[in-house]
Homo-oligomer: 231 residues x 2
DNA sequence: ATGTCTGAATTGTGATCACATATTCGATGA
DNA sequence: TCATCGAATATGTGATCACAATTCAGACAT
């Protein structure tokens, strides 16, 4: 668990206008979101610096930022790792998501115009296609974009960074969900959400978002199901 | 606005077991919470390093962490500052607080035993005394401790860091509240919360917490009232 | 008085180094 | 065979330096 499992980071092209720290941050964040880093695996600055071919300095900054966002955890021994999960914590995270995201959705609703509604429908369509093709990564990516596009309609946004923090904490343990996703997307909650927005029905929107989140995490509804993926 | 207004940081004793970065972080965080740093004022690494008599390195780390937590903001020009506030954003922050904190309180309630209830009552008593003496800083400090002690009863806590982020964003603009606090603490919402917990009444607890937060931010209920403190 | 331009000073970013501490691993003993 | 201990290594923290980009101040022209 501690050091010898390798980490495969997908290195993206680095634009010159972006600081190295930002690039490192995005790279590591993406790795966390895709579950590339085993929970509990010790992340050392020098190892990552070698892996990404940069100096230790940008790594330090990126690790501290990700830790502040809850994506990583700094232990007492000053080691950095993806936090380990428990069934209870998982449940709390899901409930927190529902609480924050339904709130954010309702607060965003008044600002959603036809243009954004069209974009939401487009994303929902992409999700359908990706689901048919069994392309799990695309499903999760477009799903995130769908939620983000919905919430950020509110121009006085203050909850998005909090929501992203919850996503980061849950993501490493959602890999099983995207592998066998056929079971979970029986009902298209996104279409329910869209029509709720059209009718300006706050309660219906809350129900749709809430159900969508619960569906996506249903695989871990029982502690036993989750437990096997934590060991 | 930009540089020449001085910032007075209260320097606390630094324990040797704590890293310099952590000490700098606490110091700056406290300064933000007490509204010592004017919003929009540019914070430069070297200036703070001189002020705190440390090397620039711990300052960089602390600034990045505080920025990730929403206490500070990194602009495009890479300048760091306390974010400016708008009336709408203030309202959103208050609503987000109510949403998250009522949720967190209800989830913590099952874990609150008599011992913790006694601590809560003790803190409430301290708040009463501080209010009588007109000691605003103590009121806000004990008030924060009261809420923190309540929420952290839940051992599977995941919302506390999110809540603290909201506190950090609101705090710089709450100074007017603690200056003339006589008007706002007419009803002791904390006692309502405590008795709600005793009776295991989730709804009453939600109402108490919600009212407590609203009371504390009532001074900014109208955009005009808030506006005068933003300029 | 006011706006514009240019050179100087300041600043953030990133690299490198020193050092105290934590971790690892092999030797030694039972 | 296994536990214990100590040295060698690895690691995080913090300091210092170089450099490009930004900001600032003063001169100049209008």
């Amino acid at each position: 668990m501690d050091k010898h499992t390798p980490i495969d980071l997908t290195l993206t092209e680095r634009h010159s206008a972006v600081t190295i720290t930002q690039w490192v941050y995005s790279t590591l964040r993406q790795a966390v979101l895709l579950g590339k880093i085993p929970p509990g695996r010790a992340l050392t600055i020098r190892e990552l610096a070698t892996l990404l071919d940069v100096s230790p300095m940008p790594i330090r900054e990126a690790l501290r930022q990700l830790s502040a966002e809850g994506a990583l955890e700094i232990q007492g021994n000053r080691r950095v790792m993806v936090p380990k999960m428990t069934a209870m914590k998982f449940a709390e995270l899901v409930e927190a998501r529902i609480c924050l995201e339904t709130h954010s959705a309702v607060r965003a609703m008044p600002y959603i115009d036809e243009a954004r509604l069209a974009q939401l429908e487009d994303l929902d369509h992409r999700i359908d296609i990706a689901t048919e093709h069994g392309n799990g990564h695309d499903v999760t990516r477009y799903n995130q974009e769908f939620h983000r596009l919905l919430y950020t309609a509110n121009p006085h946004q203050v909850t998005q960074s909090l929501i992203e923090s919850l996503w980061l904490q849950l993501a490493p343990f959602m890999q099983v969900a995207i592998e066998n996703l056929d079971d979970y997307y029986q009902v298209d909650r996104h279409k329910e959400a869209i029509s709720a927005i059209r009718e300006r029905d706050s309660l219906a929107l809350q129900m749709a978002i809430s159900a969508d989140i619960r569906d996506g995490c249903a695989f871990a509804s029982s502690p036993e199901q989750l437990q096997q993926l934590l060991g």
